[in-house]
Amino acid sequence: MIDPSAHLIPTRRQVLLGGMGAASAALLAACSVTGNSSKGSGGSGKGTLQALFMQQAGYSTDDVNAMLGRFHSANPDITVKPTFVTYEALHNKIVTAAAAGAYDVVLIDVIWPAEFATTSIVADVSSRYPGDWKTAMLGGALATAEYQDKFYGVGWGMDTKFFYRNSQQLKQAGVADGPLETWDDVLAAARALKSKGVVKFPLAWSWSQAEALMCDYTQLLGAFGGTFLYDSGKLAINTGGGVAALQWMRQTIVDGLTNPASTTFLEADVQKTMNEGQAAMGLNWTYYLATSKDTTQSKVAGQIEVQQTPAGPSGKRPGVNGAMALSISSGSKNQDAAWKLIEHLTSEQELDKYASSALPIWKDSYTKPDVVASAPATFDAAKAQLDDMILRPGVKNYNAISQAIQVELQNALLGKKPAQQALDDAVKTATPLMQG
């Protein structure tokens, strides 16, 4: 039977739908477009800190945990909870965590301060820098976390790409002992290695579509006398040294001197290829030398030598700045404690212990005999190379610009476009992004 007054009482369905509608309106109205952008604060200087690190690069997970252990002993009322992610995941992790203020201390790459500073993801710590740091720290380390004359972190783990060569294979090919000072020398050695059948593809590079490619390209760009940016801030890679470097890179593939699979390689693959004896020469970060001596993963233990990166026709031989920095999240509610942690992790006595994993940021460390003795060959090469570093552009949209350039670099390396055209296209795509 139909209840005549039924239409006055809302049906269950209407209640359900009405409730949902009201709730949605309220929620949408209440929330801003991006949600809570929590302001950070100094905090009490104690408590729990969440810290984001990178795994298995520079300082290993064990290294970092040891450092954290010592920090806790010295500061018992601060507990640190570390997280380790791969480099590839690091950037996006920082971005997504920023909205929630999930981490207090984050490890950032040298190419990110511009982006993170302008998007307010990391805090300005210039006022926390003790005065003597500016003279005691290596210039390259200071520049790592700097943007527009402010510091957004502290350099941690200086790194640059050194040139590694397999001295035994080179000897077999009849190449004279000792460092190869110029890229021409490298080519000559490669040709000897190839023609004598010692190694099929003597050179291996990390030219996969990733930041690794930009690192290699930047280092070669410097060697060929090019610059990334004009003084005006416009991209200059499609002129002079920039083009010459790319043409040289492509030519080594065409000539069969570079392993063609390099366009899929990251540094780990260069490491493995050289450790397998399948490549005789290559660029890689500081960590590589130690892995080459590890007999469980290397067939060439003891054969690999490290040296400063070779010079190009310009005579220059700058190393790409591949350092990282420790920063404070701008949303952190415990910034004072976070700064204490950073001070500890970047202190001279901590970094000196792990000099063979990553290079210290303090000028003093390079004069201490016991520190140098932990990795003498590396320090030798580092002394010269760290004085002369080339930076990738410090602009907010570096990520997008880098991707645009990477694509075109790959197009040239894969032979799909001539180098000049590839770089022209890269500049065309990237220029509108430069404004930020």
Partner: protein, 282 residues
Amino acid sequence: MTPSLRYRVFIHASALLVSVVILAPFAWMVLASVSTPGDLIARPYHWWPQDATLSRYSAIVHGSGTDVASAFRQSIVNSTIVAGATVVISTVVGVLGGYAFAMLRFRFRRVTLLVFLVTYMLPPIALLIPLYLMLSALGLINTKLGLIVVYCAYVTPFVLWILANYFLTLPAELEEAARVDGCSRLGALWRVMLPIARPGLFATIMFAFLLAWDEFLYALIFTSTGAAKTIPVAIADFSGRYDTDFGLVASGGLIASVPPVLLAIAFQRYVVGGLAGGAVKG
């Protein structure tokens, strides 16, 4: 009529070929998981490891500390908890909801069911940003509970859709007769409807489990530490910037595959029915 010999040879040879193509990569993974890193990068490649080593498996099972292998063990625990909870919650909610759908009649019923189906089809990327903000506002980032909530929301509509379809095929008289016999509405559901809907139920259990076990994007973005990281994220983590031991990836991958494979073999008959619209033939 017995098939000809030539036909039988043909189908068995084809089946063998297909089996080889399917099993070959698996077999290689098994071998790789017990090969040393040196073996794995050797050229020419050593198919059979020279010194087989179970070290990776023991590292995963016994390792302590914060190294990659023990992080993987933690992620297995997390995945199991998340998947288990997702299956239980979404099945219960889906059964109740599906039953209600079959019993209720309201104007938007058809549309709502369609909406439920479509939510399952949505790409995770579409909901990622708001979901992240919501979860962080509720403090559920990097928690298993947060993942469970998200996965249930994703799976429940689909479960509901499948089960609603099943229940709707059942004659109303069956349920009425059960009620006449003294069952409550829920009792009728439990003792009459559910057993008939069993194929759909198994299909939904399987989908819910596989989704929670397999899901990557949300787990990647919403979790960061061992407290909540699930297996797919842990496996993606294996390839660090400077180090990829494929043997570790292989052993982790094989371990991660055991539960879904067992489930799939057990429930393979019911899988298809779910997608085909809630009705299974045979």
